[in-house]
Symmetry: C2
Subunit: 600 residues, 2 copies
C-alpha cells in the first residue's frame, strides 16, 4: 500500500487557490470560519484517514458483512467509526448552529468526503447515508420527528438509510409497491419489500432509521403518488421506550466490491405492525428525495474521485520504485533497468489518472461552492440552476472515467496490480458500483439531456456556457493557455451545434430517438466540463508560477500545466467523435427490431 491516498497539497490548491474558500467567510452563515478552522477540520479528518481508515481498507474487504440470526453484522470498526464521526460533528457539520451543526461550507465537508472515500470507501458510506437521511428529516420533517430522531443520528448512535429500491422498481421509482395506510393514530402501517438498501441493517449502531418511499392508499399513480416516511428499526413505544418495529432484514447481497457496507433486503409489515411516520406532506416524497439527491450525487462523484485517487497514488509510488526494462533508445542490455515511470506509456497512464482525478475533484468542488453560495443567498437561482445542470455530470464522469482510471492504475502495476498484495484491485472492484447506485449513468444521461438542457427555457444550459466562457476568456489572455482556451471554445460550439440538432430530433422524431444516445451526450458534456476545470486550474497555476514560488510549488504548478496539456491533447478531442456519432446515429438503437437479438 502506498503511504498516500490523496494529496493535501492539491486540496490546498483547490480550496484556497482555485475556489477561494475564505471568500465564503464574508457571509454571515460562515463568518465564524476562517482558513484556520477549515484547515483544522481537514487536518483532523486527514489524520483519521491516515491512522484509522486507510489501515482498515483491505481488512474490511476481506471481512465483509455477514447475515447472522436475522441481522447484518458488520466489521466492528464500523461502530467505532460512526461514533468518531458523531463526536467529530462530521455527520451534520453543514447544519446551522441552531440545528446543532457547525455551519461548515459544503466545499469543506466534501473535501472530508474525498479523504474518507479515498482512505476507506466502505466505511465512509455509513456516515454519508446518515447525513442524507438526517437532512431529509431536518428539511421536511415535523418538529416531533426532528426531536425524536436527529440527535441520535448525528451522534452516530443511529444509522440512517435511503430506502428507495424495490424488486420491480430500481431506476423506475414510479413503480414502487410498498404501501402506507394511515391509522389515524399518528402513524402509518407500512407493507412491502425493499432491496439493495445500503447499510439497511447493521449491528454498528443501536437503531436504523430508514427514510423510505411508499405509496399511501389511494394515491395517484406514478411518481406523483409517492410519499416519504421515517421507518425506524426500533420505534418509540407510548411510554417513550424503544420497541422493535415490524421491519426485518431478510438477507444481504454478496457484492463484487464496496464490501464494507452491507446491501440489504428488507421486509416491512409481515406481522402487519410496521409503523412509519410521514415526512412532510403526502405524495411529496419523490420531490423531497430529489431535493436531497443533488448532494448525494455530488457525494457519489466525490467518492469515485477518492477511490481513483487512492489507486493513482499506488500506481505513482509503484512506478517510481519498480525497475523494469530500458528506454527504447538504450540498446545495451547490460545497462541498468529503469523505473517504470521512465517509460512514456506509463506516464501517459499516470497523466490520464491525474487528469481524471484532479479534474473530477475540481468539478465537484465547483458545484459545492455553487451550493454554498446559493445557501447564503448569493444569486441563488443562478447557482441552483448551475448545480442542477452539472449534477448528472459530477455524478457520472468520475464514476465512468474513474473505472478507466483505476484500471490504468492496475495496468501500471502489471501482474501485481491484479493481485491482492496491493489495494488497487480492490479500488477497481469498489469503484464499479458508482455508475450504478444513486441513479445509473443511463438515468443521469436522460436527466441531463431530457431535462436539464432545456429546463427553464435553457437557462441552466446558458448559465453553464457562461461560466465556461468566463474561464476561457481569462485563459485566452495568457499566451501559454490560448490554444487550450481556443480548443474549449470550439468544443462549446460543437456542443451547441449538437444540442440544437438533438432538439430538432426531439421535435421531428420524438423522445425515443432524441434520448437514444443521451449517454454519449453526457460523456461529451463531461469532457467539456472537465476541460473547463482544467483551464481554471491552469490559469491559477500559470499565475502562481509568475511569483517565484518555491521549488516544490514550481513542480506542483508545472505538474498542473502538463496535466492540463495532457487532457487537451489526449482526452478533449473525444468530444468531436462523440458529437459526430450523436449527429449520425439516426436513431439506430431506438428504431431497431429487437428480434434481431434472437437466435435459433
Amino acid at each position: 500500500m502506498a503511504e498516500q491516498f490523496a494529496s493535501k497539497r492539491n486540496i490546498r490548491f483547490m480550496l484556497y487557490e482555485v475556489f477561494n474558500a475564505e471568500e465564503l467567510t464574508q457571509y454571515e452563515f460562515y463568518q465564524d470560519h476562517s482558513r484556520e478552522t477549515f484547515d483544522m477540520i481537514i487536518d483532523t479528518v486527514w489524520k483519521m484517514g491516515v491512522d484509522f481508515l486507510y489501515p482498515l481498507y483491505q481488512e474490511l474487504d476481506k471481512n465483509p458483512p455477514q447475515f447472522v440470526d436475522g441481522q447484518a453484522k458488520v466489521h466492528p470498526a464500523t461502530r467505532q467509526f460512526m461514533r468518531m464521526c458523531g463526536e467529530g460533528g462530521w455527520i451534520n457539520a453543514n447544519w446551522s448552529y441552531e440545528d446543532g451543526g457547525q455551519q461548515v461550507p459544503l466545499l469543506i465537508t466534501f473535501v472530508n468526503s474525498l479523504i474518507m472515500a479515498a482512505a476507506n470507501c466502505g466505511l465512509s458510506g455509513f456516515p454519508a447515508l446518515t447525513t442524507g437521511a438526517a437532512n431529509l428529516i431536518l428539511n421536511f420533517g415535523s418538529q416531533e420527528l426532528k426531536d425524536l430522531y436527529l440527535e441520535k443520528m448525528v451522534s452516530g448512535e443511529w444509522q440512517g438509510t435511503m430506502a428507495l429500491t424495490e424488486p420491480d422498481a430500481g431506476s423506475s421509482l414510479a413503480d414502487i409497491k410498498t404501501t402506507a395506510v394511515d391509522t389515524g393514530e399518528g402513524y402509518y402501517k407500512i407493507k412491502g419489500q425493499k432491496i439493495f438498501i445500503s447499510a439497511g441493517d447493521t449491528d454498528a449502531t443501536d437503531n436504523t432509521i430508514h427514510l423510505m418511499l411508499a405509496k399511501i392508499e389511494g394515491a395517484p399513480p406514478g411518481v406523483r403518488g409517492i410519499s416519504l416516511f421515517v421507518v425506524p428499526k426500533y420505534r418509540y413505544a407510548k411510554d417513550g421506550s424503544l420497541e422493535r418495529n415490524d421491519i426485518w432484514c431478510t438477507g444481504i447481497e454478496h457484492k463484487m466490491g464496496f464490501k464494507g457496507s452491507p446491501i440489504c433486503t428488507l421486509v416491512m409489515g409481515e406481522n402487519n405492525d410496521c409503523h412509519g411516520y410521514l415526512v412532510g406532506e403526502p405524495h411529496m416524497g419523490l420531490s423531497y428525495m430529489f431535493q436531497m439527491m443533488n448532494e448525494a450525487r455530488i457525494g457519489v462523484g466525490i467518492g469515485a474521485v477518492g477511490k481513483a485517487t487512492a489507486a493513482y497514488y499506488d500506481a505513482l509510488e509503484y512506478t517510481k520504485q519498480r525497475l523494469q526494462g530500458r528506454k527504447p533508445s538504450q540498446k545495451d542490455p547490460t545497462a541498468p533497468q529503469v523505473p517504470l515511470i521512465e517509460h512514456a506509456d506509463i506516464r501517459r497512464m499516470l497523466l490520464f489518472q491525474r487528469a481524471v482525478c484532479e479534474g473530477g475533484l475540481s468539478l465537484a468542488l465547483q458545484l459545492s461552492k455553487y451550493v454554498d453560495l446559493a445557501k447564503v443567498g448569493v444569486e441563488p437561482e443562478k447557482h441552483e440552476l448551475l448545480v442542477d445542470f452539472l449534477v448528472p455530470i459530477v455524478k457520472s464522469f468520475p464514476s465512468e472515467y474513474g473505472i478507466l482510471s483505476t484500471s490504468a492504475a492496475m495496468q501500471c502495476l502489471g501482474g501485481y496490480g491484479y493481485c491482492q498484495d496491493f489495494p488497487v484491485e480492490q479500488h477497481f472492484r469498489d469503484i464499479r458500483i458508482d455508475p450504478i447506485h444513486e441513479g445509473t449513468t443511463g438515468i443521469q444521461a436522460q436527466d441531463l439531456l431530457g431535462r436539464k438542457t432545456t429546463m427553464k427555457n435553457g437557462e441552466a444550459y446558458r448559465l453553464f456556457m457562461e461560466e465556461v466562457k468566463r474561464t476561457m476568456a481569462e485563459a485566452a489572455e495568457i499566451p501559454e493557455l490560448k490554444p487550450q482556451a481556443e480548443a474549449l471554445a470550439k468544443g462549446l460550439e460543437v456542443m451547441d451545434d449538437v444540442t440544437s440538432y438533438l432538439l430538432k430530433v426531439r421535435k421531428e422524431k420524438g423522445p425515443e430517438e432524441f434520448l437514444a444516445d443521451a449517454n454519449l451526450y453526457l460523456e461529451m458534456t463531461g469532457l467539456l466540463a472537465i476541460g473547463w476545470q482544467w483551464l481554471l486550474q491552469g490559469v491559477v497555476a500559470y499565475r502562481a508560477l509568475q511569483n517565484q514560488p518555491s521549488e516544490g510549488d514550481t513542480k506542483f504548478y508545472r505538474g498542473k500545466l502538463i496535466t492540463l496539456k495532457y487532457f487537451y491533447t489526449y482526452e478533449l478531442p473525444k468530444v468531436n467523435t462523440l458529437a459526430h456519432v450523436l449527429k449520425t446515429s439516426q436513431g439506430l438503437t431506438a428504431n431497431m427490431d429487437i428480434s434481431l437479438f434472437d437466435e435459433e
Copy 2:
C-alpha cells in the same frame, strides 16, 4: 446464470459461411476431416461446456486454490477436466497423426478454446498451458525429451507451464536471472526464482513440466543469452522411476479473478539439485518461445472473447426478461413496465457487446485460418507475415474492449450485475487479467508499431492493407454496404497517413517519441481490423439474405447487419480521434520531466 454462454449459430456462421473451414480439407494434412468431423468435435466440446464446465464456473471462483503443506491445491474438478481433455485428444488435437494428434485445424481448436473459455476460463487455462508447453518440446526438443514427456502431457496426466517471469523480469525478459550450469551429464543445474507462473503447481496432475527460460553460465547478455529448459517437478531417476526435483512452490498469489488457476512462485535449486534439460540449442530460448507465443496470444484474445461473450448472453437474457420503466414517449404511469431491452440505451450496450465479441472472434479465427494455411504450405510467407502483424491486435483488442464489454453487460443488469447472484461480476474480474498476461497491452503496442509495421520493409503492413482492401472491394459492390466500405477506406488512408507521420518522427526525434503513443496506434489499428471483419461478415450476411433464408436465419443475418452498422456508426469514428492525438501529441509523455509528478 443464463443458459447460454456462447452461440452455436454464430460458430457455424464463422466456420462455414465466413471462413469456409471445409476448404481446408482439400489439403493432405486435413484430408480426413470434413464438416461432419468438425461439427462432431465442436459438439463434443460444447456438451462438455454445458454439462461440466459452465456449472462449475462460479464454484471455482468461490473455492480458489489453496497453498497447503508446500503445495498448491486446486479444485478437484481440475483433475477430472485434465483427464477429459487428455482422453478427448484436445491437448494435442492439432498435431500430426505421427506425433499422436488428430490433424485438426487451428480454426477448429480455437473454437474449442472459445467454448471452454466462455464456459469456464479458470479451468480452460490448464489444458491450454499444457498444449503450449508440449508444443515447445514437440517443435524444438530432442527425441529423448519428446519420448519422456509428451505422452503424459497430452494425456492430461502431467501439467505443462510456461515459466518466464521473475521478480525483476516481467515485461523485460532480457533481465531474467535464473541460471543453468551444464553438468556434462545430460542435464543442467538450475538456480533461481520464478513468479506469476500459471498452474505452476497443482495437485490436479501427477507431475508438472515447466518450460523454463534461464541463462547458461557465460551466455551473452540480454535476450540473446536466454535458453529454454524442461524443468520437471518430478524428474526421471537413472532407473527410470520418478524422483522429486529441487523445484518448489513457495506460495500462490491471491488474484482478483481468474481464480480457477493458481499463480505460483517457484524456487529452483535451493538444495543445488534442480535438474533442467536443454530444449534445442543454447541461447535460442526466447526465439523458440516467440515461435509458440503467437498461438498463445491468439489464445488470450479468444479467451477474452469467450468471457465477454458469456457476459453478453447474461445481459441479453436479463434485459429481455427484466421489466423496468417505460419508453420516454409513454406518459401514462399505469401502463405496464417494459423489458429493459425496449430501452434504446440498453440496446446500444448490447450492440456494443455483440460488436466486440463477434468482431473479436472473427479476427481471431481469421488469424487461425492464416496459420492453418501456412502450415499446409499455402503462401506460407504471406500468411505468416499476416499472423505476425495481427497477433498483437488479436491479443489486445478483445482484452481491452472485452473489459468494456463485460462492464456494459454489468451495467445492463444494474445492481444485480454488481452482485454474485449472476456470473457477470466474475467475468468482469476474470477478463481484467487479459491485458496483463502473455505480454501487456503496452508490450503488444510496442511490438505492433516498433516491429510489425516495418518488418520486412513493411511487407506485413502492406499485406494487411491488401487483405482489408479485398474485403472492401467486395463490399463496395453491394449498395447497402458501400457506405461502410467507404468509411473503412478512409480509415485505411488515415492509418497510412499516421504511420508515415510516425516513421518520420522516429527518424527525426528518435524511438522514445516514436513509440510514446504506441497504445493509441494499437487501438486505432484494432478498430480498423475489427471494422474489416465486420465488413467481411456483412458481405456474407447480405448475400445469404438474398437466398430466402428461414425466418430464424433471416433474423440472424439481419442481426449481423445491424451490429455492423452499429460498429461503423459508434466505434469506427474513434479512429479519427486516435489519429488526431497520434499526430498532435508531440512527444508530450516522452519528453516530460518526471519530477512534475512529485509533491511536497
